[in-house]
Each structure stands twice: as C-alpha cells, then as structure tokens.
Symmetry: C2
Subunit: 314 residues, 2 copies
C-alpha cells in the first residue's frame, strides 16, 4: 500500500468494519484506507468514516479535515465536543439504504393493513376468524419526516395504492402530496392517519414527539411504525395507548438503548413488534461510493448535498 497516500480511517463498533474498509479502499483508491486501530500515523489521517468513534481519533489527528458518518442519523456525533464545529460533518445518504427503508415501511404497512398482526395472535389461540379490511385506496398513511427517506416511503406507498400525507417541522411543498407542518399540522396529520410512519431526525424539537397527545389525536385502532430514533417515542405512552385500544399495533426498529435491554417491557407486549434496527441496514458496497464522493467534494472545497447543518441538527 502506497505509504505516501493520505489516510482515510474507519472507526465503528459494528462487526462489519472490515467490509467497510474493503469497500472504501475500492471506492476511494486515492486514500490509504485503514481501520482506526491500524492507522500508521495519525498525522496522515485527513478523513474518517465513523459510527460511535473513540474521542482519541479527534484528539490525535491534527490534519483531520472531514468526518463522514456511516449512517443517516448523526445526533450521537453532534453531541460530542471533539467533533469540532469547524470540521465538516457528512451523513450517509445511500440510495440502497433509502430503498431498503422504504421497502421495510411498505412491509410494515401491509403487515398491519392486512392484519398479519391479528392473525398471529389468533394463531396462538388456534382461533379461525376472518376480518375484513380497508383496501389501500381507503387507507391513509401519514409519514412524519419528509427528508430523502420520508419522501421515498411516501412515493413507494403511493405506487402501491395507499393514500399518503406528510408532516415536517418546517413547511415543505411536495408535488401531489398533502403536507402539514408545525404542531397543529402534526395533530391534523395524526387525526387523518390509520397508520403513522415516523422517520424523523432526532433534534430538540422532535424528541418525545411520539407521545400520548399524538396517539390521542389518531383514529381509534391506529398503528405506529417508528424507524427514526428511539428517543422520538415515549414508550409508556405507547403501551398505554395499545392497552386502551387507542392504537392496535406498533412496529419499532429503533430504541433509546440498543440492543434493547432484556428486561424492557416492549419485548413482550403482545401488540409491539420489535426489530433490531434492521429496517435499513447500510450496504458497504454502495455506501462507500457515496462516502468517497462526499469526502472528495469537501477536500475540493465544495459543499456536498449531505453536509450536516449543525444548527438544524441533521
């Protein structure tokens, strides 16, 4: 490996760190790509691709010029003072991840709309009972968060015949999609949605946004799907809404602490479906291409599309 190349270092606690290193070495041959523990000389590190990286990385690399997250949510990086405000921070927007998330949201929507949840409970009791259901064209799905992910989900659901509406914190106009914003708008969307799908960024404004007030605004027997962050949800409010029948099911892919602790009551609530943060597993092969492009843009002095706005929080 060319000893004179600048170093791009990979730091993540995931077990696919080596897959990321290999994919980045292929996508960015102008760098010497190394796992953080194997970086030869911190002074040569100019870029890093990270997820929950060690503080040492930022302290020891005086020539670090760009930080690229290995995922879409960057709140864990924004909370850390080592990631200095002058360091450009990029989040991963990978078309394969976006497609995977949209498909998972469709899978969850169909799971509830076609009552797979209810038939699972009936099966445990060996109970044979058909339930009629609303067809897709009669089912309104509200998407909370209208970034790249939310828009992809809305488009896929509409292609499959669902009525889709959307909400974002700040007003957003999207062709053909009814959208609302602000807190009044949130209640308006909730009141119209048989199914709510949350893919919000985690900021001070969105923390605990999925709470009892929101569930109270939804039609009786609604469903919640959360693929944003665990801290968007107030779990006690969700379980109360499920127990009173206000909501009839929830599919959760994200939790305040991951892995979800073994004693968490969400694990065994009969109307909660727990997925292990698997809705949009990032794909090193395609993700590395996006990361290489973002890092190159910053080093050329350009402003990449997925640069994090630290004021906004995503």
């Amino acid at each position: 490996m060319a000893a004179s190349l600048p170093v791009l270092t990979v730091a993540t606690p995931w077990d696919n760190a080596e897959a990321w290193r290999t994919a980045l070495a292929e996508a960015a041959p102008e760098f010497d790509v190394r796992l953080w523990g194997e970086a030869p000389d911190p002074a040569r590190v100019v870029a890093c691709a990270v997820w929950h990286p060690p503080a040492l990385l930022f302290e020891r690399c005086p020539n670090l010029r760009v930080v690229h997250a290995l995922g879409a949510g960057v709140e864990h990086l924004l909370q850390r003072s080592e990631v200095r405000p002058d360091l450009p921070l990029l989040r991963l927007v990978d078309p394969v991840m976006t497609e995977r998330l949209a498909q998972w949201a469709l899978a969850g929507t169909l799971f509830f709309q076609r009552r797979f949840d209810r038939y699972l409970r009936q099966q445990r009791e060996r109970r044979w009972l058909r339930h009629d259901h609303e067809d897709a064209g009669e089912t309104t799905v509200g998407v909370l968060g209208l970034g790249v992910m939310g828009r992809a989900i809305a488009a896929l659901l509409r292609r499959n015949g669902f009525q889709v509406i959307g909400w974002s914190r700040l007003p957003k106009e999207l062709p053909g999609l009814g959208t609302w914003s602000g807190s009044d708008g949130l209640r308006a969307v909730a009141s119209r949605s048989a199914i709510l799908i949350a893919v919000l960024p985690l900021t001070g404004d969105t923390r605990s946004i999925l709470d009892g007030d929101l569930f109270a605004a939804m039609p009786e027997g609604g469903f919640l799907i959360n693929a944003g962050r665990g801290d968007h949800l107030v779990p006690a409010d969700l379980m109360a809404a499920l127990d009173t029948g206000r909501l009839d099911g929830a599919l959760l892919d994200v939790f305040p602490v991951e892995p979800l602790p073994a004693d968490d009551p969400l694990w065994h609530h009969p109307k909660v479906f727990v997925h292990p943060h698997a809705a949009a597993i990032s794909n090193p092969r395609t993700g590395a291409i996006a990361i290489a492009e973002g890092i190159r843009a910053v080093l050329r002095g350009e402003r990449p599309a997925n640069l994090v706005d630290r004021e906004r929080g995503y």
Copy 2:
C-alpha cells in the same frame, strides 16, 4: 317487489348472505333476488349465486339456466352431480378480489424477504440480532398458476422490483415473464425460486403438487405461500421440509378442512403462519356487478369469459 320478475336466488353458508342479496338486488334489478330459503316459487328461479349450495336447489328448480359461484374456486361444485353438465357454471372473477389477493401475496413476500418471521421468533427469546437480506432485485419469486390471479400477483411483485417467474400446467406465454410448464418445468421454477407462491386451481393434476419432491428442488431456506386450495399441499411434507431447514417458512391461507381443526399441528408449528382464508375476501358490492354481467351474458346466449370448462376443471 315485482312478483313477475324471474328469480335469482342466493345460497351460501357464509354469514354475509344478506350482503350478497342486497348487492345483487342493486346490480341486477331485472331479477327478484331472494335468499334460497325465501324464494317464493322454485319454478321462477332461473339463476343462482352459490357457495356450497343445498342439493335441493338443483332438484327443485326446473327452470334454472345458470349457476354462478360466489368465489373463484369451483371444485366443490364440479364434484356434485346435481350441477348437471348442461348447466352453464361461472366462477367469480372480481377485480377487487384479484387486487386483494395480489396485495396479500406481496405482503407475504415482504414478510419473508425482510425476515419479519425471524424477528418474531427472536422477539419471543428477547434476542437482538440483525440479519442481512437479499434485495428485491436479487430475489426470485416463482408464481405457480398463471390465471387472472397469478398474473396479477406477478405484475405487482415486478412493479415492486422482484424477479418473477411463473409456472402453469399447460404452456402459457406472457410478455416479459419467464414461464415454464409441465412437471419438468415445475422443478425448474422451484429450483430458481427463493419464494414460491401457489394460486393453482384444484384439479386431479394439481392435487398434492406442493410436496416433498417440490420442496427438495427449492434452494435451501426457501419459503412457500399457498393461496390456492388446501388439497394442493401435503402438510406432512411441508413440516418435514421446515424441520430440516430445506424451507424456512410457510404462509398458508387455505386448508383441506376449514376452519382448520384445533388439533391440527400446523397451528403451532413455529415456521407456519396460518391465515383464515382471508387473502382475498370477496366483496359483495363489486362481486355482484361481475355476477350480474355473467348471468346476463348466459341468458342472452353468449359465452362469458369466466365460464368454467368442466373438462379442464376451472
């Protein structure tokens, strides 16, 4: 009610008989539409819309000229000698039912492809473990049966990015869809399919077609979805295939005896998902329109598209 109108009688053990009667009265105002027990004079009955009808209906109605099934599968009517060969027999092809079945097949496909089945089992053990998955474009789904239903399923899966191939007993050419036929063709489709979806008519040729030989031809860890008839499947072979890992899951909507008896081992097999014949609940409102058109065509002396070919069996 005009006493001189010819009578269309509705005979079904389902609890929605009255909904069918009302919908047919609206769709076919040229008839006096009556439930079988309330038909005023058997000699006035010229048409019937039935599901598991009483033998008496055929014996007592000398002027009966057309029999319309209230569902898509008519093997139970073909087995009965009262349904004389000279009586035109029609099966229900309702666009709403077709759409519902296709959507259910998509829901089942996503359920397995995105491993909702596996995460359900993990949740019971409070186990947090992500599994990577093949994307839709890398997943081949084989559709067995290429009638109206099978073609609708194939089209919807393709619109959602899946690789789809098909099989029918007799050769069929469909634009853009790789198809096979005959028993060699069946093995060829099975060997290429991560997921097999069966929507076959029940005939002497297709009874017990979903058996150990078929499962042995599939790739390791495949999935079966059956929405045809229960007698297509050899349940013992399915459970053996699931227990050895040859198959990794099955979603069944149909059974030889329905409701599925409480002591049937399929109820509690951890890799079998039992639905109560709910994949394509027929819709009286739209179904009645199709039935009225079919009956009118026969009475005008035309040959409707959904006339059952008794030789073929569907």
